[in-house]
Point group: C2
C-alpha cells in the first residue's frame, strides 16, 4: 500500500464505508432478535417515538429518517396494523395526522431491547465501550451537519 497523505474526501469515504459496514452488522444483529417479519426500520420508528417524542406527523418522521414519505406511510401502516402505534387527526392541520406509540408499542420496544441486551453485553465484554462513547460527540456533530446540509439545497453547492 502506498501511503500518500489521505485527502479529506478519501477520509470521508473511508469513514462512510466503515459506518456502512457497522450499520449493516448491527442491523443483522437487531433483526435476528426481532420477532420474525419485523424489520429494523419499524423498530427504529418505535425507538424514535420513545427516544425523541411521539405526536409528530408522518412527514416529520420521514424527514427524521431521511426516507421518502411513502416509505414512512407504509412502515406506519404496518406498525398500526399490529397496534404498536396510533394515528390521530392533527388538530392543527386537517391534512395531517399525529403518530403516537401505544402501550403495546412501548412493551414491544422494551422487549426487543431486552432481547438484544445479551448480544450487546457480549460485545461490551470484548470491547471497551468507552472508546465508542468518546466517538459519539464527533459522530453526532457530523450527523447534525449532514442533517442541515440536505434540506436547503438538494443540488450541488459550489464554494
Amino acid at each position: 500500500m502506498p501511503d500518500h497523505p489521505p485527502t479529506p474526501e478519501a477520509t470521508l469515504l473511508t469513514f462512510f464505508t466503515e459506518v456502512g459496514i457497522l450499520a449493516q452488522l448491527s442491523r443483522a444483529l437487531f433483526e435476528a432478535r426481532l420477532p420474525p417479519g419485523f424489520t429494523l426500520p419499524q423498530f427504529s420508528v418505535l425507538n424514535h417515538l420513545v427516544r425523541v417524542r411521539d405526536g409528530r406527523t408522518p412527514l416529520d418522521l420521514a424527514r427524521a429518517f431521511q426516507v421518502p414519505k411513502t416509505s414512512m406511510t407504509h412502515s406506519l401502516a404496518v406498525l398500526g396494523r399490529h397496534g404498536l402505534v396510533e394515528m390521530r387527526p392533527n388538530a392543527r392541520d386537517g391534512r395531517s395526522k399525529c403518530v403516537f406509540i401505544t402501550a403495546a408499542g412501548r412493551d414491544f420496544r422494551q422487549a426487543a431491547v431486552a432481547g438484544l441486551v445479551p448480544d450487546l453485553a457480549a460485545i461490551a465484554a470484548t470491547y471497551p465501550v468507552e472508546r465508542l462513547a468518546e466517538t459519539l460527540p464527533a459522530l453526532a456533530d457530523l450527523r447534525k451537519i449532514m442533517d442541515g446540509m440536505r434540506d436547503p439545497s438538494p443540488d450541488p453547492q459550489e464554494f
Copy 2:
C-alpha cells in the same frame, strides 16, 4: 434516558443509533449522485471489484457484504444486464461462476466517485475531518469484533 451513569449496553445502543442515522444520511447522499435507477449496493459491488479484486464468486461477494446470496444474484444480474460486470464459468468448480468487472463498469464507478467528490468536499469544508479520522481505529476494531462474532465472513467490504 435517565441521568444515571449509562450502562455499556445503553452506550452501545446509542452508538448504533447514531451509526444507523449516519449510514442512512450517507446512503441518501450517495444515491442522489448515482444515475437514476442505480442503488448503493450495486455501486458497492462495482467498487469492491475494483478496490479488492474481481474474479470472485457471487457467494464470496454475498459473504463480503453480509447479504443473502439471492440478493447478490439479483444485484449481479442487474449489473450484468447493464454490461458493467461479466460472469464466466469457474474452471475450478462447475457449479460456480466468477464475476469480472468490465471496462464500462470501471468507467461507471469512476464517474460515480467523481460525482460524489463535491459533496464530500462540502462536508469537509464545514467539518474537521481529522475528528473522524481519529474515530476510525475505534470503529474498525468494533467492526472486526462484530465480524468475528457472526458467521465465518472474510474481507472488509468497500463502499
